[in-house]
């Protein structure tokens, strides 16, 4: 299983880096969907010999939501708006990749220092989760359009989910479903918000929403 697991983790990091270099919003959404599917598959291969029914069920719900429903909602929001590209992010693409590399190195260093009490088979999950969380936060802070901020939020959420997977052995199914539902509603609500913002302002550039100060 470790080969499969490592492949998934590497792919997870690559999708995050893909978002750091990409400028087209459509590519963001596709990248996010791909990452969502991988996050959904992760519990099936991490640390357990045979996945229980509960794990399979949550994984299926996760893949369905993050791989199909979210991209559908976000593509719909994108169609409504005239903005197709992430123009001039606050931090350019090359420095963004530099940040990604630093985040990756920092995560391994932090993981080595903190020493979480986890099963050795899941040892790689923690640094990857940290990297994903940091890249998610970075996307939210440095990207200007509402849509890429939503994607950043999803990346952050994916990272936290992977982190939880590694350090908490068994999360009750009701709780997992509750969390999943909250994320679903979050994306849904944000999608509607983008629709309204686009209609009111004719753009979804959050940097230009700056009338409220002080």
């Amino acid at each position: 299983m470790t080969l499969l697991q490592d492949t998934l983790l590497v792919a997870l990091i690559l999708t995050s880096f893909g978002m750091l270099v990409s400028g087209r919003l459509g590519a963001y959404i596709r990248m996010g969907a791909l990452q969502g599917v991988m996050i959904g598959l992760l519990p099936l291969v991490v640390g357990r010999a045979t996945p229980t029914l509960h794990v399979v069920f949550v994984a299926a719900a996760m893949i369905g939501l993050k791989g199909l429903v979210f991209p559908y909602l976000l593509f719909r929001a994108l169609r409504e708006s005239d903005t197709k590209r992430e123009m001039n992010p606050f931090v350019g693409h090359v420095p963004s990749v530099f940040f990604g590399i630093l985040a990756l190195l920092g995560s391994f260093w932090m993981d080595a220092r903190l020493g979480f009490p986890i099963h050795s088979s899941a040892a790689l999950v923690i640094p990857v989760a940290f990297t994903t969380i940091m890249i998610g936060l970075f996307l939210i802070v440095t990207r200007r359009t509402a849509l890429s901020q939503v994607i950043g939020f999803l990346v952050l959420e994916n990272g936290i989910y992977a982190f939880g997977l590694a350090i908490v052995y068994e999360v009750p199914i009701l709780l997992e479903l509750g969390v999943l539902m909250d994320v679903f509603v979050a994306v849904f609500v944000m999608g509607i918000a983008i629709y309204h913002i686009n209609r009111e302002f004719d753009h979804i550039d959050i940097d230009r929403l700056n009338t409220l100060r002080g």
Partner: protein, 493 residues
Amino acid sequence: MNFGWLLPILILVPGLLGVACLFLRSARAVLRLCAIGTLGVAAIAGAVTLHVFRFVPLFAGRSWFMLDALSAYHLAVMMMVFSISALYGVIYFRDEVARGTFTDKQARRYGGLWFGSLAAMVLVLVSNNLGIMWVGIEATTLLTAFLICIHPTAAALEAMWKYLLMCSVGVAVAFMGTLLIAASAQQTSLHGSDALLWTALRDAVHQLDPALLKAGFIFLVIGYGTKAGLAPMHNWLPDAHSQAPSPVSAVFSGFLLNAALYCILRFLPLVEAATGNTGWGRGILIALGLLSIVLAAMFILFQRDIKRLLAYSSVEHVGLIALGVGLGGFGAVAALFHMLSHSLAKTVSFASAGMLGQSYGTHDLRHFQGIVRRVPVWGTSLVIGLLVLIGIAPFSIFLSEFFILKAALSQRAYWTACLLLVGLCVVFISVLRSAIAMAWESDTGVQASHRFKLSHGLLVFIPLAVLLVLGVWMPESFVQILIRASELLGGTP
């Protein structure tokens, strides 16, 4: 007889009422249902709360639901805030319904979200499972987001987006904290869903891993602190509170912040007990509390918008509550007392500010002149509300602020006391200056545009009267309730 089954009912009833709102025909009917339904839920909540205060904590659903003295006290405050705001909603939207700016469709959405956020906040308070509590907080963020932009103006959308994104990220950080807390229980005998039950964690507190618990608490304070409006994570707050319609602002300031702070308060005794009561967790709350008070005071000094002023005042008061709880013991009792006073005073103030805004067509303080004469009921209540909020003597906030200061002095925390006093004085002077200017400056020639209505008067003056009474005389049973609730926060009173 076990009344635990009432706890799920308490979540279900507002949920169903919210759905019912979607099927109502007119805006007036929705607003009326909001008022009656909220009062109905308040009645159930009142009965449950009294039961908990008189007898023992209630449990339900394999201990996933729990109501103890601390959550019951929060529930009581919350239902007061919601009841006043729901009744006020009927008055506030009356003009807008008549002018056609509050359509039936908007009203249905408002009603559904109103009851939805009520249900989510009840869920936060009655969950014993810390994960479900998190689900409740995230649900309040998502449900209340669209309450801000019931009128989708540019400014309201901007405020809504800031609120939605900042609080979602904050709450995601809090989830990471919750996971770390669950991880800290792995060396104990707790397994599966038990590892997130607050009561189970409390009983096994000395076996928890202190390092993971500490790391988790930092994430939780940052995460829930964002939602609670503690500085420096408060940036979304003045925008959201000022752009929302006034009944919603009242609920935001009156209780939404407290609901998030309540989550931090749940984790505080765990961290304190596991780290051997060294005051590590309390120190964090004291620092953030002081920062909130001082930062809010600076912004209040230069504030020109009445609703933003009230929003920054909420940052200050949440800071005061955090500071009081951080000081512990006597300070925690005072903080809980302060919470009740602030929630009532802030609800009344937002309600009055909203009506004045409708009457003057602006929320700019410089245009509010002669408010006591022009809009007698709401003008008077706004002035009194502001005076209560800055801690004028016979009212209860004076008392609780005095107690918090005394708690700081008795622990020889002189710098804390000094900063607290500076912050309070700055707020006192700047708000008093605006209040006097609004109330009496150049009020000659101002005509009364509103006639006195008894129902309006009762709605705002009853809560203010309660604050006055509590300021001069506290019933013994109320003191007992405060002490019992603060004992759950750990430490020795």
